[in-house]
Symmetry: D3
Subunit: 140 residues, 6 copies
């Protein structure tokens, strides 16, 4: 068994494809985490882009705003994903979810995963919204 | 401290309100779990309806289809929620999500919560779709 | 569907009820998290008080000290809930659990949820106890 | 490195000690799971008794009823622990928790770990209570 | 954004590559779950093979036996993954882990994720070992 | 019921045994967490050493490098265990796992527990490797 060469033409094409998907939703500029993986796990960075964005995010069955709603529910529930939540709250804004919709996804999480997970996710959202002058959030 | 009387007029009004929300999304007929709680934890059944549906689901910041997408992400990620997933896959169909959208939410979960959670959720969806003659699912 | 108006007389009465329960166990002064939610998710703050404390905590089937023991087990197991653990360790002291009982709940967690969750919870307890000059904890 | 010999006099004394603690709370008769481990992981069965019961459960800082409340919160939150929950619901009854207290611990879980975990735990309790003619549960 | 065509020559080559890796470790015969996904989420089955096996399992940094040890730790900890555990216990045997090593990985899990997760995983192992006449397991 | 006296000759012998196992794999110097538990939960520190290392780690069915691979999979999956991960990444290096093997265990986690858990664990590894001048990691 040998792993695919992530430098091969085929893999680079997959990577470029994923990068385009990623750039289309996060407003350009791959998340800093990708750079951070460069000297320790470049293959993981490759697969996040090629598989996560190129293979999964690109699927048309869910529009980007729908997909982000699923993502917000997943990450809030997992817990311990504050850095990823921050990235995906920004992406959610970029694809057109409103601050009220993002907050609502987390309030909704309270019923299924409990108040602590909901509060923790909203705490991350508050940081992002504060940086972008999106506070206070007007409901509805 | 005394708990609110779930038989009081105010609480019954809250309950009725939640029941209307629930009936509006699940096609009538409260989930069997509500009946099952009747002789062991009627207050929990009350609060699931009054708080979960009356207070949370009724909030207009997310449309029912959006809200179900968040729910599918949460329940698939939690794991061990097969009965609840079954209820919510049915509810998702009732509010207008297509089988392909439901499946896509679970495929998406693979990237953030791993393949096992995604497969388990799709196994529940397959059972529901088979009962309703919705197989095979045509993507896109 | 429209959500209940959290400013209505009925909801304000529910909120006041929850606030009294909360004040009775946390020594007055709502947790800072409530204030923090004010400009981003005031409805969540409302529901934490009205539902979490007014509807759940007020139920007489468990005395406050018993209820806190359940809470400590839940939060230690969930993981990633350090802020909530801090609030509830303080509340546990306020309702009369001893430092040794609080620590014991976390030691007990080791058997069912593993050493890391137990250690993490005790690390939070140590911070709270240090602030209140409750160290060292004498067992038994 | 060599593991301790679980057949040694010292380890057998630790085991006997744990077995006495276990018998004192579960009404005699080690859980069937212990027998089940006999031909595949006898050392695990030994450690569950010697460490779990002999070292942890025997600690006096929490009375058995208090300790079971912590346990119920932990197991309901973990999820996927239906067999263990069944054992511990029975143990909880044996040490004197009432059905209403056991149910209350699970209702309480809803606020911190969400409705699905609470419902799943109550479903197990309902099975145990039905077998023992303890239904319906009268609150308070 | 359009998803990659899983029927394209490139994707079929990726799939074949993954299938070879999978066949090399599971003794031939893709897990039944792959077939089961065929009429509901064929793309997920494709990605499990192409990404999971072709991209991840094929990486030479860990030998198959090492990789299975990591997998056993992950799946036992996740919980609620009994079907996946069964597949991977069989795969672990196929790549040369002994029953005692597999059981040991689960006993080890007890210290970090608690006794219930360990017991649940060993219960699945016992079923697999019984089918293959591998009981009793002789330690060491 | 009375707990075993952790100061007794038998328990001190168990503790010393565990400490030898621990010293053999972590390069001497018990983790700082042990000291930290001294004034709040000394019994937990005792049991981590006596049970976790003396009873579990000492078992010969898995060699230290194998055991660490299981541990890395467990801790990465649990989430919220950054301090424990740091300790165990160092221990993994001490028993002879290479940086590439450690990173690979975490990349592998992505398939079963999702990208966020994998990234979080690698972030901890990067910190440890940077302190020890082990960056960049050369794969395979």
């Amino acid at each position: 068994m040998t792993a695919p060469d992530i430098g091969s033409a085929e893999e680079q094409a997959r990577y470029q494809r994923g990068l385009e998907v990623l750039s289309g939703i996060d407003g350009g500029g791959a998340p800093a985490v990708m750079d951070s993986l460069g000297d320790i796990a470049p293959a993981l960075a490759h697969h996040i882009v090629a598989f996560g964005f190129g293979d999964l995010y690109s699927r048309p069955a869910l529009a980007p705003r729908q997909r982000q709603l699923v993502t917000l529910g997943i990450l809030a529930t997992l817990g311990g994903c504050e850095p990823e939540l921050e990235v995906h709250i920004k992406t959610s804004l970029n694809v057109g979810l409103t601050p009220a919709e993002i907050v609502e996804a987390f309030i909704h999480t309270a019923g299924y995963a409990g108040f602590p997970r909901a509060i923790n996710a909203i705490t991350v959202a508050k940081k992002v919204f504060a940086e972008r002058n999106l506070l206070p959030v007007t409901e509805g």
